[in-house]
Each structure stands twice: as C-alpha cells, then as structure tokens.
C-alpha cells in the first residue's frame, strides 16, 4: 500500500515537514524534525532506486489523474540515482548542521533555516522525480527561492549581494526554461515529458521547437553554471553558511545537470540534440574551457571556499564534456562524476566548515599549522583533495578514467590531454592547502585549536569515506551509471 505511493511520499514528507519546522520555533525541535524528514526521504529514494533496478521504470499518477493530462512522476535508473544522491547528501548533512548552524547563525533564525533547507531539499527532489515539464519549473523555483534565502543567511554582508546576484541570474535562467517549455507546448500541445518525446520527432524541422531547444539549453546552463554563465556561483558558495555551501555544491548543480540530460536525451531525443543540432560541438569546447580556465583561476584564490567553488565549475565541465560526447561511455562518465563529485565536494566543504567552526576563517593563512592541530579534519580534506585530483583508489580517478576512455574512443587526444591537465591544475590548488596546513608553522601566539566535534566529523568522514569506498568498489556506481546511460542513449523507452 505505502510502497505504491513512494514517489509521492518522496516529495510530500520534506514538503510537509518544512512549515512544521517553522511552527515549532525552537531550533532543536526543528532540527530533529528536519533530520527525521531527510532520513525518511533517503529511505524513500533508496527503496525507489531498488524497485527501479529490479522491475524497470515506475510511473506514478499524482492524484490519480491519468497522464498526459495529470502530473506524472516518473522514476527510472537516471533520476532514481540522482534522487538517491540528493537525499543521501541531505541526510548526511543535517546531523552536521546542528553544531555548525548553532555556531554561525543567531538562535532566532534556526527554525527558519531548517524550513528553508527542507524546502530546498523538496524542490531538488521534485525537479528530479517529476515527469512534467512545467512541474519541473515550479520545483526548480521552490529550490531556487529557498537557496537564495539560505545563501543570504551567511554572516558576511557580501552574502547578501551574492544572494541578490544569484536571484537575478537564477530568475533569468528559470524564465528562459518556462519560455522554452511554453514554446514546446505551442508546438506539441503537451507538457508530459514522455508524451513530448513521442510528438517531437515529426516536428524536427519546426522553428518553434528549435527556439524552445535554445531557450531550454541557455536557461539550464545558467542554473548549472556552465562556463560563461557561471558568474553567480563563486560568490554564492564563498559567502553562504558552511552547511549551505556543502549542501548546494553537492546537489543543486547536479540536479541542473540532470535536467539538461533529461531534456537533451529523453525529451528532444539523442538524434535531434546531437545529430540534427550537434549541440555536442557547443558543449565540449565550453566544458574544456571551463576545466582549464576555472582550475587555473582556482589556483590563485586565497579563500579556500572560493577556491573550491571555482573547482566546482571546472568539475561541472567534466560532467558536461561526458554528456557532450553522447556515447554510452561518455554518458557513463558524466553520470558517474555526478555522484562522485557530490561525495568529494560535499566532504571537502564540510571539512572547511569544521575549520571555520574552530578557527573562524577559511583563508589560506588561517590554515597554517592546522595539520597538527586538527589532524582528522585536515586529513579528510587531503583525501577529498586527492579525489579531486583523480588519484587511483579514489572516486575522482574512476570518473576521469571513463572520461579519458570516452575521449579516446573518438580518437580525440586533445580532450584526453585537457582532462589530464585539469587534474594537474587540481593538484596545484590542493597542494597549496596541504602546504599551508602541514608545512607552514602555526602563527606565534595563535589560540589553541581543538579538533572539531564528532557530530561534524562523522558526516564529513561519511562523505569522504564514500569517495574512497566507491573508488575501490565501483560495482554499484558504475553499474547504475552504465544502466542509466544505456537508457538515455536508447531513447525514451
């Protein structure tokens, strides 16, 4: 009985818990409720993915209104996997949030924080699960509006301008997406993604469809910080509270990448997107530039949070490159990196949150000598950093391995070299942090620094541990990613 309604529960549980958090008012109670809701969401996501892997895609008619008129929730291997990533990161970060939020935000804002956090989680899960193009926009705005609030909660006043900048860029992106969806509706008369996929092929030469494609690509590109559209991201990540940076870096851009995948492969179809329009020729150069330019910019940052934000844009480049290849190996690499990057970047930002809690700053000079004073935190940062570089036995290696393989399948040596150079650049910026933490002496008369509390260390190590574990035992992640890629390439079925 309940199992049949899992797709709805996935969204309804965090959505219903959000206003309750606000009503509870007390920070601790709101936190406990948010924790329960996020763990329930994780259970739903895990059960859904298991069901999908065993018995194929699930279609759920919301309120029993039959698709294509009603809103359909549709879970297949692709979004089942993304649902699990988002729910897992949410469930791991909330235990961490309690100490970190108590330290960084004033008491009266705690309940509001958890409300906004749950709404953001709801929005991201909703974007992922829905099979309706307009519903996707609504969930996208739920997650975006709440993430503007979360970013603006940062203590630095620059968090406000960063949130405002993100609001303007994000709204333009979302409006582009609605215009694209509207044009698709004009051409086909439907909003259901499966229905769209059936009705679009005969319209391949239609100009309305072409314009819709362009609007959707640019709109989603803004949301996922595709290279020339990334200007909102570094400030937003650098000034948001630590928990928020960790959560958004691990989930928000990943969900946008999924939206791009969904539109390119399911709705428009791989033939239209990559053969008629050859969007790959646009995506691959942008991805390559993102990897090289943003990794280089990251080297020159003195604020480590900002450094990792630029590194995120470069890492998104790897995902987009894999998608741009439009081959099974390329897509496997892209989807795999979606998961892998969520684990390592989430872990890295959480480690920085621990540093911020004890030291009060995440600038490079504040990290001097921390390797001895906060050994566990800094060691987790080093492991996450190695994964960013792509050292064997970490997840970063696995996704880069597949990406290089995909590039070589096309005899594209230049792109394979770009991926490797990107790794070397990552080594440089990770080394700057390692050097500061382990080889520079602590400043004279520095206050004594304790190791971060366990409630924060454990979530950090769970994510970092996952990024090592899935680098050694790749059967689960590669298996799911490969199945998802085959499904996307194979078309709508």
């Amino acid at each position: 009985m309940i199992a049949a309604h899992l797709p709805a529960l996935q969204i309804v549980l965090p959505l219903a818990a959000a206003p309750l958090c606000l009503l509870l008012r007390r920070g601790t109670l709101a936190w406990a409720l948010a924790l329960a809701a996020s763990w329930a969401a994780l259970v739903c996501a895990a059960l859904l993915l298991r069901q999908v892997l065993i018995s194929g895609p699930i279609s759920y008619e919301l309120g029993s209104w039959a698709a294509p008129w009603g809103i359909e929730y549709r879970v297949d291997a692709v979004n089942g996997f993304v649902l699990l990533i988002v729910a897992a990161v949410g469930a791991v970060i909330l235990p961490y949030a309690r100490t970190s939020v108590a330290h960084e935000l004033p008491e009266e804002q705690h309940a509001t924080f958890y409300t906004a956090f749950l709404l953001c989680l709801t929005g991201l899960l909703g974007v992922t699960i829905t099979g309706d193009a307009f519903n996707l926009f609504v969930f996208l705005e739920i997650s975006s509006l709440s993430s503007y609030v979360l970013i603006a909660l940062g203590r630095d006043r620059r968090a406000l301008t960063a949130a405002f900048q993100y609001l303007v860029m994000g709204t333009i992106g979302a409006t582009f997406i609605v215009i694209g969806v509207g044009l698709l509706y004009m051409a086909t008369g439907t909003l259901n993604m499966m229905d769209l996929a059936e009705r679009l092929p005969p319209l391949a030469g239609n100009r309305t469809v072409l314009v819709a494609f362009a609007f959707l690509t640019v709109g989603t590109g803004l949301k996922l910080a595709l290279f020339p559209l990334h200007f909102w991201l570094p400030n937003a990540y650098a000034y948001a509270p630590s928990v928020v940076t960790g959560f958004l870096a691990a989930t928000a851009t990943k969900v946008s990448v999924y939206v791009l995948l969904r539109f390119f492969f399911t709705v428009f179809g791989v033939g239209y997107s990559f053969e008629v329009l050859s969007v790959g020729k646009l995506l691959i150069p942008l991805a390559a530039i993102a990897i090289l330019v943003c990794s280089t910019v990251a080297i020159f940052q003195n604020d480590v949070k900002r450094m990792l934000a630029y590194s995120s844009i470069a890492q998104i480049g790897y995902m987009i490159m894999g998608i741009g290849f439009a081959t099974t190996t390329g897509l496997t690499a892209g989807i795999l990196h979606l998961f892998n990057h969520a684990m390592m970047k989430g872990g890295l930002f959480l480690a920085l949150g621990c540093v911020f809690l004890r030291v009060g700053s995440v600038r490079l000079e504040a990290l001097h000598g921390l390797g001895k004073r906060m050994p566990l935190t800094m060691f987790s940062f080093v492991l996450g950093g190695l994964s960013l570089v792509g050292v064997p036995l970490t997840v970063g290696f696995i996704s880069k391995w597949y990406l290089v393989q995909a590039a070589l399948e096309r005899d594209d040596w230049i792109l394979a070299v770009v991926v490797l150079v990107g790794s070397l650049l990552a080594l440089v910026y990770v080394w700057r942090v390692v050097e500061a933490a382990y080889f520079k002496p602590a400043p004279e008369g520095a206050a004594k620094v304790e190791e971060a509390p366990l409630s924060m260390l454990i979530p950090t190590w769970v994510l970092i541990g996952a990024s090592i574990y899935f680098g050694i035992d790749t059967s689960l992640t590669v298996g799911v990613a490969r199945q998802a890629a085959a499904q996307l390439i194979g078309g709508a079925s």
Partner: protein, 123 residues
C-alpha cells in the same frame, strides 16, 4: 499583414528585450528588480497569447451556446492556469528580491551596485 496579425508576440519580444536590457544595464538594485519583472511579464503574455483561440470564449460551460460544426468555441484554459502559477512564483521572487535589497541597504547604506563594489574594494 501576417506579420502585424501576430502583434501580441511582437509585444512579448519587445517587453522581453526591454526587461533584459534593464536588468543588465542598470546599477540600481530596485531598477534591476523592475527589469526582472518586465522580463517575466513578457513570458506571461506569451503564455496567455498561446491559449487564446480566435472567436473563443472563456472555458465555462453555458447552456444554449451551440458550437458550429467543427469550430472551437472555447479558449484553451491550460496555459492560463499555468501562468497563474508562474505569476505566484514571480511575486515570490520580487518579494524576496526586495527583502534582500532592504538588508543590503542596511548593511551598505546604498542600493547602487557601483557604490557597493567600491565599498568592498576599500575593505
């Protein structure tokens, strides 16, 4: 005359570009929000236009209104309903944007982008 027959779509394009230009070119944060609103409004008109059927009335069942054979006598209500949702989203975005501007004004004492930037450079 086909080109002018589609005048509402021309309005959409003009409004969209006006709004977009205002967002990009103005340094005043309030004006940016106004530009964003104009930009969003153009999208509302696009949706409302596409649902309109020439000669069609509001989609309410009225007794005695007989449709001629093969003709459509109701406008398509779906885009209109969709856009109600989008308007709500737009209102929420504007409210949040203005709330942020209030906080920015408290923190910086100005709502001009260049003055905010020069304050940041000094510190």
């Amino acid at each position: 005359m086909e080109v002018f027959g589609l005048y509402n779509y021309w309005i959409v394009i003009v409004l969209m570009m006006t709004g977009f230009y205002v967002v990009i070119s103005r340094g005043n944060l309030i004006k940016k929000i106004v530009g964003l609103n104009i930009f969003q409004t153009s999208m509302f008109i696009l949706y409302i236009s596409m649902g309109k059927v020439r000669g069609g009335t509001a989609p309410i069942i009225v007794e005695g209104l007989a449709c001629p054979e093969g003709a459509v006598c109701y406008s398509n209500p779906l885009p209109h309903v969709l856009i109600l949702t989008a308007i709500v989203v737009g209102v929420a975005t504007t409210a949040l944007g203005l709330a942020l501007i209030v906080r920015i004004k408290e923190a910086y004492g100005t709502v001009e982008e260049d003055e905010i930037q020069s304050q940041e450079v000094e510190t």
